[in-house]
């Protein structure tokens, strides 16, 4: 697997990260270095090994269904550039 400049531009756009045109080729080269290193892992024989999403072997800790939080609107809105009547106010977004 390898990425080209176009893929880098697309990923950057999806992630809302500004990557100037002249940086895109360099980033593609760096990413390809990482990917080819990851590709080496494909040499390991994983037949009969379950795919895993975590290496710790712990199960997910759970919480009781009790309301313990909320009602802290001042903290929630503490950093907002604009709010009114308890709402966040943002530039208009319509589908």
């Amino acid at each position: 697997m390898s990425v080209d400049k176009t893929t880098v531009a697309k990923i950057a756009r999806l992630a809302r990260i500004h990557v100037p045109d002249e940086r895109q080729q360099a980033i593609a080269t760096e990413l390809n270095g990482i990917l080819s290193w990851v590709d080496e892992l494909n040499e390991v024989d994983t037949e009969n090994v379950e795919p895993l999403a975590s290496v710790t072997g712990h199960a997910l800790p759970m919480r009781k269904d009790v309301v313990t939080d909320g009602d802290r609107i001042d903290e929630v809105l503490a950093n907002v550039p604009e709010s009114t009547g308890g709402f966040f106010v943002v530039p208009k977004v319509v589908d």
Partner: protein
């Protein structure tokens, strides 16, 4: 069964429908935070720093939400995956402060199941369930409060949702509506979602395509966020007509997401960038795999209530109700429990008739719910009992029912108080008949001269004189003897 094919200008078309239903999990707190999951608080009141996605906040899963998903899976006769994984679905929107939704992509908590739908003609059909997964709801955006700004309320952000995905097994908008109706019914029986479509607790995305019968699947469109059975049917019917027209005119269907306009009943393309669906899912590094012990699944399975299909089968098999009546009575759990209590010890079919015709009719008219109204199961059972044992006629029973619905009280007391008891005393009926005959000598002569139709007139007169209380069977019999004899 009637054919579901739709005829176009150039021949018949088969409609293929799959549904993704988002059902809000009934719980006190949110899926990954301790903030309240209830509806209707002031803006941003039910928001924790986790929901607001403040840096460094970590999600901790709500055990009850997991149990609710398992219960639902069991209710859908589905495979429960003891190990499932949470993924991040990445997209940017103002009401999603994390920049991703925590969802389940490759390993959902519930796998394949089935749902039996009840169709208006009384027949049933099984629809495949592909999967059910847990995910976070997004916040609410208001776009109509300011000319150039949107207002965001994060109260709903992080509330647990079950996304329930069907197989593309439905072939008409009627089947799709029946699917959502049955799914809603099961969720409400289980207590895992309140099913309130108006408040958005249950909403559906519909995938629709058309094809020539027997051919490969056509290109589908997805119409999002339909929150009533009527809108689901309208959106599908509109899409079917639109797609057939395009194809018959030589065009092609774009695979796209569409929005439904509730005022016009039409769907339209959602304005969005082409790569809006590139979600770049990956396992959420903040959450370990979700492991459920088999013992817990067994415990939840053992505590599952009797579900609508089981009750419906019992009402048809044991009590002899029609498939239609049984489906109507079992759609809501309260109704089924009411029916069971009301009909115990009484004529089961007669109670079903009184419930579906008189009681539901009166509720529709008054706008009351079953639990609010004056009729209790005991009162309805009592009324039917009085009909069965001949104390009152069916006609009088309607009057008693109306009084009972208006003012409460039990049928026997109303009958007693208003003196409505059916008269089955042959002496009393004879006296009434004699009086009617004496008053109508001319008609008696005409009848005896061969004008048979007048018999009905005499019956009517006697019933009228008795205030509707005379036993109609006895009136007929005695009248016949007196006039003909």
């Amino acid at each position: 069964m009637t054919s579901n094919l739709v005829s176009g200008a150039t021949g018949d078309w088969e409609v293929v429908i799959g549904l993704e239903v988002h059902a809000q999990v009934s719980s006190n707190a949110k899926l990954f935070s301790g903030a309240s999951a209830t509806f209707g608080a002031d803006p941003n009141q039910n928001v924790s720093l986790v929901d607001a996605a403040m840096p460094g906040m970590l999600p901790v899963i709500n055990h009850e939400c997991v149990r609710q998903a398992v219960r639902t899976g069991l209710g859908l006769k589905a495979e429960i995956n003891l190990v499932s994984v949470f993924d991040r679905k990445n997209y940017f929107y103002a009401d999603l402060p994390q920049g991703y939704q925590i969802s389940q992509f490759k390993q959902p908590i519930v796998g394949e199941g089935t749902l039996r739908i009840d169709l208006p003609d009384g027949s049933s059909r099984n629809i495949g369930i592909e999967r059910l997964h847990l995910e976070q709801d997004a916040g609410k955006s208001m776009h109509d409060q300011h000319p150039s700004k949107s207002y965001i309320d994060l109260n709903r952000t992080g509330v647990a949702l079950m996304e329930i995905v069907s197989r593309p097994d439905m072939r008409s908008s009627i089947e799709a509506a029946a699917y959502v109706r049955k799914l809603r019914s099961i969720l409400r029986y289980l207590g895992t979602c309140d099913g309130n479509m108006e408040e958005g607790s249950l909403r559906a995305d519909v995938n629709v395509s058309v094809r020539r019968p027997g051919e490969a699947l056509g290109t589908r469109t997805e119409t999002k966020n339909l929150n009533s059975l009527r809108f689901i049917q309208q959106a599908i019917d509109f899409e079917v007509t639109r797609q057939i027209e395009i194809i018959e005119d030589g065009g092609e269907i774009d695979q796209e997401t569409r929005l439904f306009d509730t005022t016009t009943g039409a769907t339209r393309t959602m304005r969005s960038k082409e790569d809006a669906h590139d979600y770049r899912y990956f396992p959420d590094p903040d959450l370990l795999p979700l492991v459920i012990p088999q013992d817990e699944v067994n415990e939840l399975a053992a505590a599952l209530p009797e579900l609508p299909d089981q009750i419906k089968d019992r009402l048809i098999g044991d009590y002899g109700l029609s498939a239609y009546d049984a489906a109507v009575i079992t759609e809501e759990r309260e109704t089924a429990l009411f029916y069971e209590a009301a009909s115990a010890g009484h004529d089961r079919k007669l109670v079903a008739n009184w419930m579906t015709v008189e009681l539901f009719g009166a509720l529709n008219k008054s706008g009351q719910t079953l639990t609010e109204c004056n009729i209790t199961p005991e009162r309805l059972g009592g009324l039917v009992g009085l009909i069965s044992d001949g104390t009152i006629s069916g006609k009088i029973a309607k009057d008693v029912f109306a009084v009972m619905f208006e003012t409460g009280g039990d049928a026997a007391s109303i009958v007693e108080e208003k003196g409505l008891k059916q008269v089955s005393d042959s002496g009393a009926i004879e006296a009434l008949i004699d009086a009617v005959i004496a008053e109508n000598e001319d008609k008696v002569l005409e009848y005896r001269a061969g004008k048979d139709k007048l018999f009905g007139f005499f019956v009517g007169q006697v019933m009228k004189q008795s205030g509707g209380q005379a036993n109609p069977g006895m009136v007929n019999q005695i009248l016949r003897t007196k006039l003909d004899g």
